[in-house]
């Protein structure tokens, strides 16, 4: 069976089923203080040292909206092309739990602050767009600590009231790979615009995946929600397991029950926490303590004017200014640091495409091997530009360039020119010396010369190879070709 170049729906079917995935992501907003109080939000403090009277829901306390959280929501909406609601409503989600001090969570229900929009990314070389339903502001709950106390539970309210932006997609994703690519792109956007630190271990970026399967053309299947996917690796494993499990259930004649499930990285399995039957009635109603959130057009425009260039805008600029292919431009705008590294290299070398090739090739390979980011690159953009200049002006070959890069990476030299000099990597541009080598090789291989003259092109290539070898790789292959053809052609 042949694989088409662009994956069609058919090729994505799993045992004849279409996979449907939607995401809900909680991005913790990078404000100094909480969403409705002035307590700090820093991670890792001693339990209950960062919770004030409002966070503890002491009698008489009231919420006051943190403008910084609203601005971050506006920034996100602008980054993904959403409608910023001029008037949105905070609602109370009522339920009892010890780590929920007020007995309700302040969230947005019917009218969220960010409406619509889309996240665009490449899956392989295919461009994808996942539509957003909404993004709304809400407060986080505290944490229950079940391990530290025998027969009792501890409550840490440091996290209570931490601002979250819950970002909800349409069920637009059709594979675990696409889901992970979406999550990575979303992660890139929120960290790029600086509204979230993106730290998944600390829970700053938590994903819930709604997964269902159906026969192509059938109505949507019953979904199960996988909660708290805190790494991209587990995300893919969990979704893949869930897809297999759902298909097997259906194949075995057991209909899927709507449920919330958790992924256990140790077993690689998902298991149900609660089913729809015990779903709570949250009794949402508009929070009478908070007037509607009114965002005047001027506020949106001010936020827009203060925002950094967005990745997709920057990618378009890379295409138009540096004539990069769209794929290169998208790849290079994976992070702000990566984009800055590229721009510095491209400008210093005057060779944007070569800079892109080297960064996406040699540089990325080494960063990936070391699992580090561009910030930790052992070759600076200036060093790389120095190397690229020498390739572009013909001083060294690509092959020699890789040797120079290796040396720079291993700190065996400070800059390309010094290494080229020290290692004698300059291409042989001296025609006299090259002619001498060619003459020697022609003289030593009369058989090849005869065969070439008899019409065998392979014999010519063999001679070129001999000449390159004799020049220790420093000869310019094009020049060798030209001179040899003159001499024996």
């Amino acid at each position: 069976m042949s694989t088409p170049a662009t994956p069609s729906l058919k090729s994505l079917l799993v045992r004849g089923y279409e996979v449907v995935i939607g995401f809900e992501t909680h991005a913790q907003l990078s404000t100094q203080s909480k969403i409705f109080s002035r307590a700090p939000t820093a991670f890792g403090a001693e339990p209950n040292t960062q919770a004030c009277a409002v966070d503890l829901a002491l009698p008489g306390t009231l919420p006051v909206m943190n403008r910084g959280a609203v601005e971050r929501a506006i920034e996100f909406g602008l980054a993904v092309g959403s409608h910023i609601a001029p008037r949105s409503i905070f609602a109370r989600k009522n339920y009892f739990y010890p780590d929920l001090p007020k007995g309700y969570q302040i969230s947005q229900f019917e009218i969220p602050v960010v409406q619509g929009g889309a996240v665009e990314f490449f899956l392989g070389d295919e461009k994808k767009s996942v539509r957003l339903v909404r993004a709304h502001l809400e407060e986080d709950a505290g944490k229950s600590l079940h391990e530290d106390f025998v027969g009792q539970s501890g409550i840490d309210l440091n996290r209570a009231g931490t601002p979250l932006l819950e970002i909800v997609t349409e069920p637009d994703m059709r594979s675990s790979a696409e889901a992970v690519a979406y999550a990575k792109e979303l992660h890139k956007i929120v960290t790029w615009i600086g509204i979230c630190d993106g730290n998944m271990q600390e829970g700053s970026f938590r994903c819930d995946a709604n997964v269902s399967v159906r026969k192509p053309g059938a109505p949507l299947g019953t979904r199960r929600e996988i909660k708290n996917l805190n790494s991209f690796k587990f995300m893919q494993q969990a979704i893949d397991y869930e897809i297999r499990w759902q298909i097997e259930e259906i194949e075995d004649g057991r209909p899927i029950q709507q449920a919330t499930v958790l992924f256990d990285p140790d077993t690689g399995e998902t298991r149900a926490m609660r089913t729809k039957e015990d779903a709570a009635d949250y009794r949402y109603f508009p929070d009478p303590d908070l007037p509607p959130l009114v965002i005047a057009p001027g506020w949106v425009e001010r936020v827009r004017s203060e925002m950094a260039e967005l990745p997709r805008v920057m990618a378009q600029r890379f295409v138009s200014t540096y004539a990069l292919p769209e794929y290169d431009a998208t790849t290079l705008t994976q992070s702000k640091a990566m984009a800055a590294y590229f721009e510095a290299t491209a400008q210093a070398s005057g060779q944007p495409k070569l800079a892109s090739n080297w960064i996406m090739g040699e540089v990325s390979r080494r960063l990936n091997a070391g699992e580090t980011g561009i910030e930790q690159s052992k070759v600076s953009s200036a060093q790389l530009a120095g190397l690229i200049v020498r390739i572009a002006d013909g001083t060294i070959s690509n092959a020699a360039g890789r040797q120079v890069f290796e040396a720079l990476w291993n700190a065996e030299g400070q800059e390309a020119d010094g290494i080229i000099e020290a290692r004698g990597l300059k291409q042989m541009n001296n025609a006299g010396e090259l002619e001498r080598i060619i003459d020697e090789v022609v003289a030593a291989n009369p058989d090849n010369v005869a065969q070439f003259r008899a019409g065998k092109d392979k014999a010519f290539n063999a001679l070129v190879g001999q000449i390159m070898k004799a020049s220790k790789g420093k000869a310019n292959p094009q020049q060798v070709n030209d001179l040899l053809r003159q001499k024996i052609g």
Binding site: A53, P59, V64, P101, G103, Y104, P291
Partner: protein, 491 residues
């Protein structure tokens, strides 16, 4: 030192503040005098907490400021707070077992603002549990007695506040009004009380009953005293209460003496229907006649949805309360059941033990009307009618400057008089609920006496932000009548 002709406890806030400034009386003397009265009238059930050391420390500090010339406008004036306001130095219970012994780490904004103005706190005043009630009989601690007839209720929920002022245990008190809780006890006890426009006074530190309705206000003997207190307790509080209005502080006493010649007073026909008892009607019509004598004109108006205000209020207020009271779960503060099997059992026992019947009733009603499948039919519908009620007032204010009518259909009823019939209590709120639902300022002004020689209150309702006009009309009435300065026998 005090040598005025009247005993100290007959002085109003304005007079007392002037005497304190003039050095005719010291803050310590005034505090001791009122603390002594509170002790000797304990059986009225007005106070839930008194701490003489706290009071005397405040009084001494007030005297020091008076001596140093740094006195606030109310320096040294004793005042007591409804126990719905949280206070650092005194327990804050909301009249509930749930908060027995609870100490707040901060003062309510209203408490702080009055302290900044110089008042000395006499203690915390009895009220219906979480301000839910209209007789003070829902206090978890003790009922309060009406000083005009000890066998009758003082009204509620700010019952303790009304008793303390009427019995001269304090020159003034704070109250809160959600559906009439300042106006109705003021009416029952023959004192003056005003609920300002919703958002005038910060709700920070008021233990919440129904957030969209709760509003603080002063209760005192005269409109003049209320104006003085209101000027000092209102003001924006943007860092603590998002519903507090961004309006500059006002001198609400500025137009007290303005003429009311030509004032158009709207008389809603729905306030004078069959449900109004004859004695109250006679008293209210009497003072309306006084207004006419001063040149005011009575204009017939209609507030057609007056009756609907009862079901609307008893959906919205319990809905908000059911959510506001969720924080009392035994986890963080307040009462927690001693023995329980698991988490859910802890919640159930804690709340079953900590809350009284009326609070439980409203939590259940509120939970029901917010439930999936009922929300639209009850809560949303109630909100729609609430807006119509507010619109009705705007329509009415096209033809009048303020609205007048009775505060309550009857005078104070007998303790236990409504028995176990909460509906009887709810129906008695009919005249105070409309202004609450619309967020309008309203006040109760003594208007004479009805059956059993019990006080009757006149209700004045103004358009938004027209407190000074209400106070002006009330003050002019009090210049022409002496109902507000009468006192119960034996006081």
């Amino acid at each position: 030192m005090h040598s005025a002709s009247k005993p100290l406890h007959d002085l109003g806030v304005a007079e007392l503040a002037a005497s304190l400034r003039a050095g005719q009386v010291s803050a310590v003397e005034a505090a001791q005098h009122f603390l002594g009265r509170a002790r000797s009238h304990e059986s009225l059930g007005a106070f839930l907490a008194i701490d003489e050391e706290v009071t005397m420390n405040q009084a001494r500090a007030a005297d020091a400021r008076l001596a140093a010339g740094t006195a606030g406008p109310l320096e040294g004036v004793p005042l007591a707070h409804k126990d719905i306001f949280v206070t650092k130095d005194l327990p804050s219970t909301a009249g509930s077992r749930m908060l027995e012994g609870y100490r707040s780490p901060f003062d309510a904004t209203v408490v702080r603002k009055l302290a900044d103005a110089g008042v000395v706190t006499l203690g915390k005043l009895n009220c219906d549990e979480f301000a839910m009630g209209s007789s003070n009989e829902n206090s978890a601690y003790q009922p309060a007695c009406n000083p005009w007839d000890l066998a009758r209720v003082p009204g509620g929920s700010s019952g303790g506040s009304a008793v303390a002022v009427a019995a001269r245990l304090a020159p003034a008190a704070t109250g809160t009004d959600t559906g009439g809780s300042i106006r109705q006890p003021a009416s029952f006890c023959g004192i003056t009380g005003i609920k300002p426009t919703y958002g005038r006074a910060s709700r920070y530190g008021m233990i919440a009953f129904a957030s969209s309705l709760d509003q603080a206000g002063p209760m005192a003997r005269s409109a003049e005293d209320c104006a003085l207190l209101l000027s000092n307790l209102c003001g924006p509080d943007p860092d603590r209460d998002s519903t507090s209005l961004d309006l500059p502080t006002e001198d609400f006493a500025r137009s007290l003496n303005d003429s009311i010649d030509g004032l158009r007073i709207g008389i809603p026909k729905e306030f004078f229907g069959e449900g109004l008892s004859a004695d109250v009607r006679t008293a209210v019509e009497g003072v309306l006649g006084e207004f006419e004598k001063m040149g005011a004109r009575l204009v017939p108006i209609s507030l057609p949805r007056t009756e609907l205000s009862i079901p609307v209020y008893y959906i919205i207020a319990p809905a908000e309360a059911s959510s506001n009271l969720s924080r009392f779960d035994g986890v963080k503060f307040g009462h927690r059941a001693k023995a329980f099997a698991d988490l859910v059992d802890m919640y159930k026992k804690t709340r079953a033990e900590g809350f009284g019947d009326e609070v439980k009733r409203r939590i259940m009603i509120g939970t029901y009307v917010l439930s999936h499948g009922y929300y639209d039919a009850y809560y949303l519908q109630a909100q729609r009618i609430r807006r119509m009620i507010a619109d009705d007032f705007q329509q009415a204010f096209k033809s009048c400057d303020l609205i007048a009518g009775p505060v309550a259909p009857t005078v104070a009823w007998k303790l236990g008089g409504h028995g176990n019939d909460p509906l009887a209590d709810y129906l008695a709120d009919i005249f105070t609920l409309p202004a609450s639902l619309a967020g309008l300022p309203g006040m109760s002004v003594p208007a004479g006496f009805g059956d059993g020689a019990m006080p009757v209150g006149l209700q004045l309702i103004g358009n938004y932000f027209t407190e000074s006009r209400l106070l002006n009309a009330a003050h002019r009435l009090q210049q022409a009548t002496d109902f507000h300065s009468r006192k119960p026998e034996g006081v």
